[in-house]
């Protein structure tokens, strides 16, 4: 069975703690591992994926069991672990299970944060490097291309990556809903804690125009401001700055409120009612909860943001279920393709197609030639039969002839393409450079 030759061996955040994963020690470069893997006996195709949460080898081998041991040995070479231990920390999927697993990886269903978008890019990069080293062939080319399109399908048909599941990202999404385009907006960070830094990082990545940092110790403020190309100010300037900025992220260690409703109310007139988004991630809180009652002022504290994240997470779980359905459906489709990739089904498919064409054409002709006698009719049918059989003869011989120098799969793909046998289920694409 062709399917059984597909194997995935890997280590991820679920099967191995980071202490083990870091021992595997693969740097960003894939070329070295790919070449080593191709030297394993019986390994026909391979692709190597390494991210901070997972290391996986996807390969096709003529003797999967033997190759699997060698691949695992390669994966754990630098860790010093024995094969028995290595087996514990790693997983092995074969055949349709491997297809299913790869689809889960590509669609981020196997990720630590379900719905995160990076993994697809990393998988594409891994494939690109495999293409450069020419280590993929008929099967992996199709499998990886399919996994990309499954991932795309999941993105467009479900809302799996739609809503924010981290507090800082939830804050950024809210900022966008309130303020629209962030490019001409500015943020004031009060207190220079880790959370403030994270939020600022997200805002900068979303293109916020200006970052201002106010902190009790000015050195820390200057340091953080430099990181984001912003300006540092003293805490005393808080209200002056507040008349200008659009977002305030507060995370001081102060025990009392640092901003009250009465302080902000007159500012709003000065701001000509430009909206103000206040994010209070300090515990105890920095900002007066009543600030939310002011017109055009929107206050979210850490609990509010946590609620948003919880709701989004629940939503994501629901979407993940729908994604599972899509993956299951696509795995079946790939199985069908694999089944067709054998000699007998290909021959049957060609014959069926030819017969269908012959029958349709003969029927069409007979309608036009009603005056024919029974004998003449039979002659026409025989003519059609003969043409079909003679035309198919050479391709059949070509398929069945097993020259030891030929790659039988390549031959099958070639013939299947020539006869358009996989047309409806999105055809085999030649490997492209710009995946």
């Amino acid at each position: 069975m062709l399917a059984e030759s597909i194997v995935i061996i890997g280590v991820n955040h679920k099967t191995a703690p980071v202490a083990v994963r870091e021992k595997l020690a693969f740097s960003g470069d894939c070329a070295g591992p790919l070449l080593t893997l191709m030297n394993i006996e019986g390994c026909q195709e391979c692709c190597f994926l390494s991210t901070c949460n997972r290391v996986e080898v996807i390969f096709v081998a003529s003797d999967p069991a033997a190759a699997a041991v060698a691949v695992r040995g390669f994966l754990f070479a630098k860790s010093g672990l024995a094969d028995a231990e290595a087996q514990q920390y790693s997983y092995l999927y074969q055949g349709m299970d491997a297809v299913d697993h790869l689809y889960h990886v590509a669609t981020s269903l196997d990720s630590m944060v379900v719905g995160e978008p990076q993994i697809l890019g990393q998988l594409k990069q891994a494939y690109r490097e495999a293409l450069e080293q020419k280590t993929t062939g008929v099967i992996l080319n199709r499998l990886l291309h399919k996994s990309f399109s499954v991932a795309k399908r999941v993105r467009t048909e479900t809302n799996i990556g739609g809503s924010a599941v981290s507090i800082s990202y939830a804050a950024v999404q809210l900022a966008k809903k309130i303020l629209g385009n962030l490019q001409d907006k500015s943020v004031l960070l009060v207190g220079a804690g880790e959370m403030a830094e994270l939020a600022a990082e997200h805002l900068v990545r979303q293109g916020i125009g200006r970052v201002i940092v106010a902190n009790r110790t000015v050195e820390r403020a200057v340091k953080l401001a430099q990181r984001f190309n912003g300006t540092a100010v003293g805490l005393a300037e808080l209200t002056t700055q507040l008349a200008e900025v659009d977002i305030l992220v507060s995370s001081t260690g102060a025990t009392d409120l640092i901003l009250t409703k009465d302080q902000v109310k007159p500012l709003m007139r000065q701001r000509k009612n430009r909206p103000l988004f206040l994010i209070d991630i300090a515990v105890p809180r920095d900002l007066d909860p009543e600030l939310n009652d002011l017109d055009n002022v929107y206050l979210y504290d850490i609990d509010d943001l946590k609620n948003v994240v919880d709701v989004n997470k629940a939503e994501r779980e629901k979407e993940a279920l729908r994604a599972e359905g899509i993956v299951a459906e696509e795995v079946v489709k790939f199985g069908q393709w694999l089944e067709g990739m054998e000699l007998a089904p290909t021959i049957t498919a060609i014959r069926q197609k030819a017969n269908a064409i012959r029958e349709a054409e003969v029927t069409k002709t007979m309608v036009a030639l009603k005056s024919l006698s029974e004998n003449e009719r039979r002659s026409v049918e025989m003519l059609a039969n003969a043409i079909v059989n003679k035309l198919l003869h050479e391709p059949m011989v070509f398929l069945k002839n097993s020259d030891p120098h030929d790659n039988p799969q390549l031959k099958l793909v070639f013939v299947r393409q020539l006869f358009g046998l996989d047309k409806d289920s999105s055809e085999q694409q030649p490997p492209r450079e710009n995946v």
Binding site: G162, S163, L174, K176, K177, I178, L179, G180, N181, R269, R271, K272, N273, R274, P275, N292, D295, N296, Y298, Y300, D304, N307, V308, V311
Partner: protein, 271 residues
Amino acid sequence: MTLFFQLTLYLYLLATAVYVAHFLSQHKQVRAVARAILLAGGVLHTVYFVVRYVAAGHTPLTSSHEAVSFFAWSMTWAFLSFWWRYRVKNFGVFVSPLISLLMLIAAFSSQEMAPLPPALKSNWLPVHASIAIMANGFMALAFCGGVMYLLQEREIKKKKFGIFYSRLPSLEALDDLNQHCLALGFLLLTLGIITGSVWAKQAWGAYWQWDPKETWSLITWLIYAAILHQRLTMGWRRRRAAIMAIAGFAAVLFTLWGVTYLLGGVHSYVG
């Protein structure tokens, strides 16, 4: 001719239903279908006006049916013209029901074609009436934007994200929409009043005679002038601007119907 009107009405109703379906499902294809149906409705509506113009022999903006139907027509085309340069997420689901509602009102008004009263025989009729009603179209869009703003703001303020949060555009975008519609609407409203006044001078010898319709148009104009003035100088934006757009539209509706049915006056043959 009534066939054209009926078909237009059905297309608008259908577009509304499909817009609602899109709002719930958020499938892009569904929105494309809704827009295509609305566009077809807009085209057919235009045909209806042309046919009616030919049949009546004068600009068909003299009865209540015609005025309200033209109101719906301006809304449709103002909305569709937005799509060309200025897109607002899920705007259609708010605009299309209002268009349909106007068309239903028009459907229940008398569709008879009365001969043109002598006083209205003027080239000013098409100019004044169409500009004045098109102003209403934009004010109606501002009204829809205001409603959307308040719905979206409510969910953000209450921190309870329901059906609107993810579907409606940002508050900023809705505020821009508000300003855009009000500015265009106000320009048309001003032109409508000026052309009406010039026409009044020709027809009755006086620019202004405090006819109830004139008075209420002026009141509406003052309301919108105040909104825009306050917006530019005092920063009446956002929430207050949204509320004012809704209030201003109430004045528009009163000028359109309230005056005719409650107060009478020289414009009363419109209705």
